[in-house]
């Protein structure tokens, strides 16, 4: 979906939904997932329709994911860390307004 203009400088490996993703040091998690071709980050809380990052500056909360078991993390505000385990934010976690409430 998005391609890198430069070679990775210092590769960082992490897991998304059990699959290995090789990103680059300094990438936000949202950017790393887009470069890996991940189209969907969260599931809409009511309809469960697929959703993906809209703003990439911390406003829309569409890139919410679960990181190492903690839900409601903004992927666009998080830098990739080696070995982090990332999952999509499922509707069941978000129906009551997520962690912001």
């Amino acid at each position: 979906m998005f391609k890198r203009l430069y070679e990775r400088r210092r590769p960082v490996a992490f897991e998304f939904e059990g699959e290995e993703v090789i990103s680059d040091e300094g990438d936000t998690l949202a950017a790393a997932l887009l470069a890996h071709g991940v189209r969907q980050t969260r599931e809409a809380p009511v309809s469960k329709n697929p959703r993906a990052a809209y703003c990439l500056i911390g406003v829309c909360f569409e890139c919410l994911v679960e990181i190492d078991g903690r839900p409601n993390r903004q992927a666009c505000m998080t830098q990739v860390r080696p070995g982090m385990k990332v999952r999509r934010q499922r509707a069941a976690d978000g129906t009551e307004g997520g962690g912001a409430q």
Binding site: M1, D24, P50, Y54, C60, F61, Q79, G98, A100
Partner: protein, 492 residues
Amino acid sequence: MNGPPGADRHTLDLAIIGAGPAGLAAAVTASELGLATAVFDEQFHPGGQIYRAIEDAPERAGAWLTLFGEDYARGLELVRRFRASTANYHTGHSVFDISPGGGLGVLGPDGARWIEARRVIIATGAMERPVAVPDWTLPGVMGAGAAQTLLKGAAMVPEGRTVIAGSGPLIYLVARQLRAAGGNIVAVIDTTPRSNYRRAAPLLARAMLAGNKEIRKGLSWRRDLKKATPIFRTGASGVRIEGRDAVEAISFSVAGRTERVECDLVLLHEGVVPNTQLAMAAGADHHYDLVQACWRPKTDAYGRSSDPAILIAGDGAGIGGAELASEAGHLAALGVAADLSQISQEDAAERAAPAFSKLAGKAALRRFLDTLYQPRDEVLVPPDDETLICRCEEVTAGELRRVAEMGCSGPNQAKAFTRCGMGPCQGRMCGLAAAAVLARASGRSFAEVGHMRVRPPIKPITVGELAALDGVGQPPDMGPLLPTGQEDGAGE
């Protein structure tokens, strides 16, 4: 709230929220004047959105700075001055609470804490106006600014067929940059109404005096793109996104004729609006700006808000762009220094004069741009009932119109009826459009209907992080942020 008893009170003269042009300039000036200053920013590098990853630019070689132009390169100098200043810089920190009087709840990598500074400058900048059109929630739709953020911050370009649709100088800038970086821009769809050109025309001569270079640059970008883009349309309206699980196409009308363009990515943009979340959470007075079609905090020339401890600088106080934002940051720091008697009022006025004249010099250009790119009605009040206004709780324009007919008084009561604005984004994405739909449906003005109240915590924080704050056993009192005597319909 004043924070728990354990909090250090007033060891800081100034807390600045945001490290974009306004926050950086404020920090530089405040440090020079000897104020104990701390800057809190969500990002990990200084620059905000406009100068995002600017410190990476030299490493990425000259072509990178050429791609983003001299306006971007200007950020390097500002960031260098900031790095050389005595301001304390806290990256990866979000402010989850702000109280009248300027107490801050700050969440960083090491947890949450309360900060008390004698003054606070909110420099949280702008966000793209959310563009609510049918099926804008499909993956593969994002803001044009979001694509630019990826380009600047991560050096990534869209791989598939990309369409840019909307209005404002940014669509030409982004289209040009993405194309230069190897993006496949199959269509540029300009939605600026033709009537805007007629209304802006009388303002052009004066705008040229103020910003000849900017206007010529914009026109040349437009000319280049028109030549280089397979589908280039102007005066478009009725934008709709089509697709099942992701974007497959965009449709729109020009002069009553509907067109459809197949694509993999749609970048929407209808200008930018102040990010008022913190100023509103602090209870600062706001007013509705009819020309920029957004809420703005009420401030004086130095950025002082209705709360004596809180100033607001840069695009967060009203859209003016990066260059003027740094002037506004400088002015706010001067205002703080004068208020804290670090310098005299006369001294502040003298130091402020060049910035004031720069702001005045650009006013005619701003008036022209604001008129030319004033959002058309269908952007402010999405006409299709099926359009999702609240993306989080999935509330449509039609549902909002229905509760307005039932007598719903405004966006705060609509929360109780529909949950609109109660998801994780807390109304950032739906606030303007929801209030506008309710206003129109009940025959009132946007200003009359008002805006959603913003309630802390305004960033995700766990109960554990809150409980671990200094002074446990005296949990932060969330009460005073609600205006007294007003029943909040939202509930929790």
